[in-house]
């Protein structure tokens, strides 16, 4: 049964007191700004990791705007996710320079190493694989981003080495 409470907590982070404190702080600090919705959602995405439907409802209630407005914003921008991502996020740049420089091959290799396709998370919730837009490091193409770190000139045969520490880093706390 513990699992189901955990899942609800994940889906509705406002039910986790620690997370709720973070959420409230973000809303309190930014609610007065013009165009606050975007600012708050960006902060929530960065600090909570996702903006699920219950969280969208909570933001809408606190800002006194219709939830449809919040949902409309969430669905428009690709950065917002409604479900939690893995503990680590591995992104491959699909910008022009990287595409020409071999990102497609890297993705094939990453798929084989991780056993998941872009957009998916490993079953243990450890690693999410994604494709992303140009990260502005084009002269080092092809580029991948592990969590926040940009790694340039990635070679397929070196890829497993870069992914290994992440794969071994499963389970333990954040």
């Amino acid at each position: 049964m513990t699992i189901s409470t955990e899942t609800t907590l994940l889906i509705d982070p406002t039910r986790d007191p620690e997370k709720k404190a973070v959420i409230d702080r973000i809303i309190d600090e930014n609610a007065h700004l013009p165009g606050a919705v975007m600012v708050i959602l960006n902060e929530l995405q960065a600090n909570i990791g996702f903006v699920s439907e219950p969280l969208q409802q909570y933001v809408a209630d606190r800002l006194r705007v219709p939830v449809s407005k919040v949902h409309g914003v969430i669905s428009f921008y690709s950065f917002f996710t409604t479900t939690p991502r893995g503990k680590h996020v591995v992104k491959f740049c699909m910008g022009t320079a990287c595409y020409v420089g071999g990102t497609p091959q890297l993705i094939e290799k990453a798929k084989a190493v991780l056993g998941i396709a872009p957009g998916e998370t490993t079953p243990d919730g450890n690693i999410t694989l994604e494709e992303c837009r140009c990260v502005g490091a084009c002269s080092q193409a092809p580029v991948m981003v592990i969590d926040e770190e940009v790694i340039g000139r990635v070679k397929p045969n070196k890829l497993p080495q870069s992914l290994k520490p992440l794969m071994e880093d499963s389970g333990t706390e954040n």
Binding site: M38, Y77, K111, P156
Partner: protein
């Protein structure tokens, strides 16, 4: 899986092989067996770990120690020291020379640094560094000795045009906004830099943020605004952080906020972040996004200068546009206008990327030719391949073939050639790039980024993409080319914003300049550049293959079989044509047919 406490990677590139890498591998294996460590230490052959200058080279993990220059005779010593005694064998250790991955090297003869003058020279997190380079002196000059009209006059005389893509005269935009009566007015900086292959704005924001802040403040004075926003894409977290630090420092110095430099002019700035939508680089969408809404473009007129952010008069300029303003004020319009061509004045930054020897950021005067940029600055094509095309202007731009190499970089000249200046991304492609595939790639991008508001943009790009995908898959049909041309025209003329209007450009320009390549795909079912997976096949050539097993170990789907030191074989039914084997093979033993 077997657990090893150490992994030794030995480079087996041709250079290291010549220096005896295989013998070293064998000696290492033997020594590990002799010392009983063979179950704890794994030896792997790999490619290039260093410069191969001191070969044979090896890397020992998990410590990440780089050894080089040992011979077979040194192996027992090495194994004893490193693996038995657990000490680094200093004698062979290669001290790490951090590989200089700088995007901005020293300027070459053809470059002129105006926007990038401080890049890499000053500490972006220290306002005093900027001030020491005459920073904020232009703002002082403006606030103490110029009227707003005189500022606009000066910028007009410099010939400065917007660097965000369209090249609209900056002074004109400012005077429109100044003329609007409603208040408050907003000064907005477009730092959304969404064009893949472009990173000029990022460099400026991260290395010289005060230039942008000073430029925006001068614009605010000229227009009569007291609040500004910098809209930065979410993909640039470092730029956002740097800007926020810079803004706070400027406030502390009384250069932002109330009564700047003791005058009655007040102006403050805030950074807002995008959230991964390319269309938000379009100015009306950008404003909607700052307002906290979906970033959907709206029809113009009304122009932002009349009715912009929160319904108030607003001025949108690109990062680079603002960043040059202080220097125009300091050094004078005549100085700036002395660089460039008749209609495109000054300098422009470009992000060189793709198959070039030297990629990175450059700044050159307008009027320089593509040839000078690609060969004199970029060093020519990597691996001495042939030049095929240069893509300018990002996803709304076009691909230009070799005939256009002597084209001067100038807004009008590029437009005439069927491409655009755009924000300054230049992706150079060699003979190894397939132009149909590139067109498909861009269409995939625009189709994904279309906000969906207009039917021609939403549905039309999807239809073009479907056709291109079919062509690349070897299922092109007679009539496809004509349908593509027709769709391009329709989308271009009936879309609301620049995204839809420009989306057909990559297709239209490749159709114009590389029609034969389309025909080869459609009628001969061939991909001349050997890129389109459905039309190619990887094979291992008997002679050069040494059976080193590198390819088999790297193939993601295990399509390669063969005994060690015997010619390997690729099973075409399993092969997914990812090309990894070809990249890792050190003996050029893999070919595409």
């Amino acid at each position: 899986m077997k657990y090893y406490r150490s992994h030794v990677l030995v480079c087996v590139d041709p250079e290291c092989l010549r220096k005896g890498a295989h013998d070293v591998v064998d000696a290492l294996q033997d020594e590990l067996v002799a010392t009983g460590l063979i179950d704890e230490v794994q030896v792997l052959e790999t490619s290039r770990i260093g410069a191969c200058a001191d070969g044979p080279e090896m890397m020992v993990y998990p410590e990440g120690i780089h050894y080089a220059g040992m011979t077979v005779d040194d192996i027992p010593y090495l194994v004893e020291e490193h693996f038995l005694k657990g000490r680094v064998a200093k004698k062979f250790q290669l001290t790490q020379k951090a590989e200089a991955v700088s995007e901005l090297g020293a300027p070459t003869a053809k470059e002129v640094r105006v926007v990038l003058r401080n890049s890499g020279k000053i500490d972006p997190e220290n306002i005093e560094d900027y001030i020491a380079e005459d920073g904020y002196s232009a703002l002082a000059k403006v606030l103490t000795s110029m009227t707003p009209e005189e500022v606009i006059e000066e910028v007009l005389a410099s010939g400065l045009r917007g660097r965000g893509g369209a090249g609209f005269p900056t002074a004109k935009k400012w005077s429109f906004c100044r003329a609007s009566e409603a208040t408050p007015k907003y000064v907005l900086c477009n730092a959304d830099e969404g064009d893949p292959g472009a990173f000029m704005n990022r460099q400026v924001l991260e290395s010289d943020p005060h230039a942008v802040i000073e430029g925006m403040t001068i614009a605010a004075y000229a227009i009569g605004s007291s609040q500004g926003y910098i809209y930065c894409r979410a993909e640039y977290p470092i730029a956002v952080r740097t800007l926020r630090i810079a803004i706070q420092q400027a406030r502390n110095f009384g250069l932002l906020g109330k009564n700047i430099m003791g005058t009655d002019f007040s102006f403050d700035l805030e950074v807002r972040m995008g959230a991964g939508a390319f269309v938000c680089g379009e100015e009306t969408a950008l404003m909607a996004s700052i307002e906290g809404k979906r970033g959907e473009p709206t029809p113009r007129p009304p122009f932002p200068a009349v009715k912009g952010l929160f319904g108030k008069p607003s001025n949108v300029n690109n990062v680079e546009t603002y960043a040059v303003v202080p220097q125009i004020i300091n050094k004078g319009a005549a100085w700036y206008a002395s660089m460039g061509t008749e209609k495109s004045k000054g300098t422009k930054t470009f992000a060189l990327a793709g198959d070039l020897k030297h990629t990175g950021l450059i700044e050159v005067p307008f009027g320089i030719t593509l040839r000078e940029i690609i060969y004199d600055i970029g060093g020519g094509i990597k691996n001495d391949k042939a030049f095929k095309a240069v893509q300018t202007g990002g996803p709304m731009g076009g691909c230009l073939p070799a005939e256009y190499l002597d084209l001067p970089m100038d807004y009008e000249a590029l437009a005439k050639a069927g491409s655009i200046m755009g924000s300054g991304g230049l992706v150079v492609m060699s003979e190894d790039s397939c132009m149909v595939d590139i067109a498909r790639f861009f269409m995939e991008f625009t189709q994904d980024e279309s906000c969906g508001k207009c039917v021609p943009c939403r549905v039309g790009t999807r239809r073009i993409l479907d056709i291109l995908e079919r062509i690349c898959a070897g299922e092109g049909r007679d009539g496809d080319i004509e349908t593509l041309q027709q769709l391009c025209n329709e989308i271009r003329t009936t879309s609301l914003c620049g995204l839809g209007q420009g989306a057909p450009n990559p297709v239209a320009s490749t159709l114009e300049h590389f029609l034969d390549e389309y025909k080869a795909h459609i009628y001969e079912k061939k991909c001349p550049a050997k890129v389109c997976k459905a039309l190619i096949r990887y094979e291992i050539i008997d002679g050069p293959c040494t059976g080193c097993t590198v390819c088999a170990r790297n193939c993601p789907v295990n399509a390669i079989s063969g005994e060690r030191r015997m010619t390997h074989h690729i099973d075409p039914d399993i092969c997914i044509r990812c090309g990894i084997c070809m990249q890792v093979c050190n003996f050029n033993a893999i070919e595409i047919n």
